[in-house]
Symmetry: C2
Subunit: 362 residues, 2 copies
């Protein structure tokens, strides 16, 4: 910018500036770019919202967020000291990096994965290595045998949607018993088996989930980790050293209501899974290629058309999907699964475009 | 605990475990221990709450929290790039420590001050020194002339309630032009002059405030910093490297409503100030000593009775005040200013107790 650096600026922590993804502000947009749930939250959320006493907002919330921790523990059959909550799973994962990854040995995560792992590692000056996914975008267990300071990967992975079996996760755990292994299950509720049952056996396993996708509460910022009591206690110690009160009162109260409604949750996730299978079929008909996604998005590529041109066309049609500009995946688009109607609109638009492209090449 | 340390535990960041203050769960408690506002939030907060569309909670909030940043900027006559928001001023201050205090020279803050400064310094491995307040619990400007990596103090100070003039703050700024100076104004709205006008002149000055006290929204977790554009940009860079979406949708929306109602805010703060002056009078009559508090609490001590015995007695009467067990201040109690009725109940209880104590010594 040409402004001379001030003396106080040399004490500023240097980070690579990050700009969040585009947030379209138009109405009537089909927003399929941040994996939000297309359905509203559980009905009890609205009921609780309407009956809340606003004057209570003058009080500090419960620093332990006990009601929410208890509701999550109860839902998953855990004790409360096995559950940690935070301001979205980003806060939970960031806090986990700060808490658990303090070795001079590098932590390990895939080269293609959730975009924040390297950001947190850089922020907290944690060394890391990124073993490559294979050519089918699958994680290779043997890449995680080497000595390391910690392991983290999403299951299913982002933005590929590819999932691994529990036997794979146990394999990684058995080869990494001296470090913390984090399985990021942001997208687990759409047909992947959770690693949660393994926390009784593996005390170094941390499972992280969120209310932002399957529970339609991205706006409330609720994430959680589940693991053995000592892991959770370590997280809490660091959390209390940063901010006693992270969870605001509405998020605690409404999060409880959302997680209590198992029936609504199962109905919604089943609908999204069904729409995903429909979506796969339609993409297939149009010549797209994609992996076996177990998430609420698909990761698609087309042999004839670049991801960028498809992205721009859809954007012109007020349909927002996600594109990542990094080398191995820049010819893919990540498409969130919306409602059936929204997906039908996407394919109507794509059919029109592809037809017009093919007419020109005839 | 006697459990053998596991190998993965050696990679855990060591912090001193912190337990948040006691949170009484009884109803009919007079809660004067965390400086909450005794009055409800501005009326427009409730109106907005009632008219909110719950289905919107399925969407991620604005990562830039533009509506809230804009409302704060507008209220204070600033541009939006001079305002940063976070999850309570604890998040803002913690983020400021992480962002600005990276020198090998110690940062400086008073020995008696807000209890989190040393906690953050320890968490982020920042060296620090704590010059002593004088015997009247006042900050001495000359203590902040020495070379340092940064300066932070509350104004008014916590838990003393003592405030300094703008000329004092300018003195400190002039002697510390090469480091960031943070003035923590959590309690500034109860009769202290804000340092905000100085941010145009001193680009290394960061002013931090909160919605938790004067705006009756502790339950929503809203804090903010104001400073020159480069300071705010540095904060945002680090914030985006940790969590894109810190501010949840209700907090953004309702924070806007709260800050827009200048009239309600001025009425409420005037009432609390008036009740504080009444409270001083009553404490004086009972023989308590205290400084000139400009906050929404008083910091009191009694020549004849220990803080601990008064604390326990009041607790037995379901009146919760705050006691700090550190050496210089363990014979003081911090008493939040509640409603007039609440304070009358406090003094009725104290008069009863003191009378009974004095009868026994006759």
């Amino acid at each position: 910018m040409g402004i001379k650096m001030r003396a106080w600026e040399k004490n500023i922590r240097q980070v690579v500036p990050y700009t969040p993804g585009e947030q379209p502000k138009l109405s009537d947009v089909i927003k399929l770019n941040t994996n939000e749930n297309p359905y509203p939250p559980a009905p009890a959320v609205e009921e609780a919202w309407k009956s809340m006493d606003i004057s209570a907002l003058r009080l500090y919330p419960d620093p332990k967020a006990e009601a929410l921790v208890g509701a999550i523990a109860s839902y998953y059959g855990l004790s409360e000291d096995q559950v940690f909550v935070g301001v979205g799973s980003d806060d939970v994962l960031g806090m986990a990096f700060l808490t658990f990854f303090h070795s001079d040995k590098p932590i390990l995560f895939p080269d293609i994965t959730y975009s924040f792992y390297d950001v947190w590692a850089d922020l907290f000056r944690i060394p890391y290595e990124t073993p490559e996914l294979d050519q089918n975008f699958c994680i290779r267990a043997r890449d995680y045998d080497k000595e390391n300071g910690g392991v983290i990967f999403p299951n299913p992975n982002a933005p590929t949607g590819e999932a691994v079996e529990l036997s794979f996760i146990e394999d990684v755990l058995l080869h990494n018993q001296d470090v913390v292994v984090i399985v990021d299950e942001a997208y687990v509720d759409f047909g992947t088996q959770s690693a949660l049952p393994l926390i009784e056996k593996y005390e170094n396993l941390l499972v992280v989930q969120t209310f932002s996708k399957s529970r339609s509460l991205a706006g409330l910022r609720i994430g959680y980790a589940m693991g053995n009591q000592r892991l959770i206690q370590a997280l809490n110690h660091v959390k209390y050293a940063y901010n006693s009160y992270t969870m605001n009162m509405p998020s605690i109260m409404l999060g409880v209501k959302a997680i209590e409604d198992r029936e609504y949750f199962e109905d919604i996730t089943a609908r999204i899974i069904a729409t995903r299978e429909y979506t796969k079929e339609e993409f297939r008909k149009l010549g797209f290629a994609f992996g076996d996604s177990r998430a609420n998005f698909l990761f698609v590529t087309h042999p004839k058309y670049t991801a960028e041109e498809i992205f721009e066309y859809l954007k012109g049609e007020k349909i927002y999907v996600r594109h990542f500009n990094s080398k191995r995946i820049k010819n893919y688009l990540r498409v969130t699964i919306g409602t059936r109607e929204q997906m039908e609109a996407v394919f109507a638009a794509l059919r029109t475009w592809i037809s017009s492209k093919e007419m020109r090449t005839d």
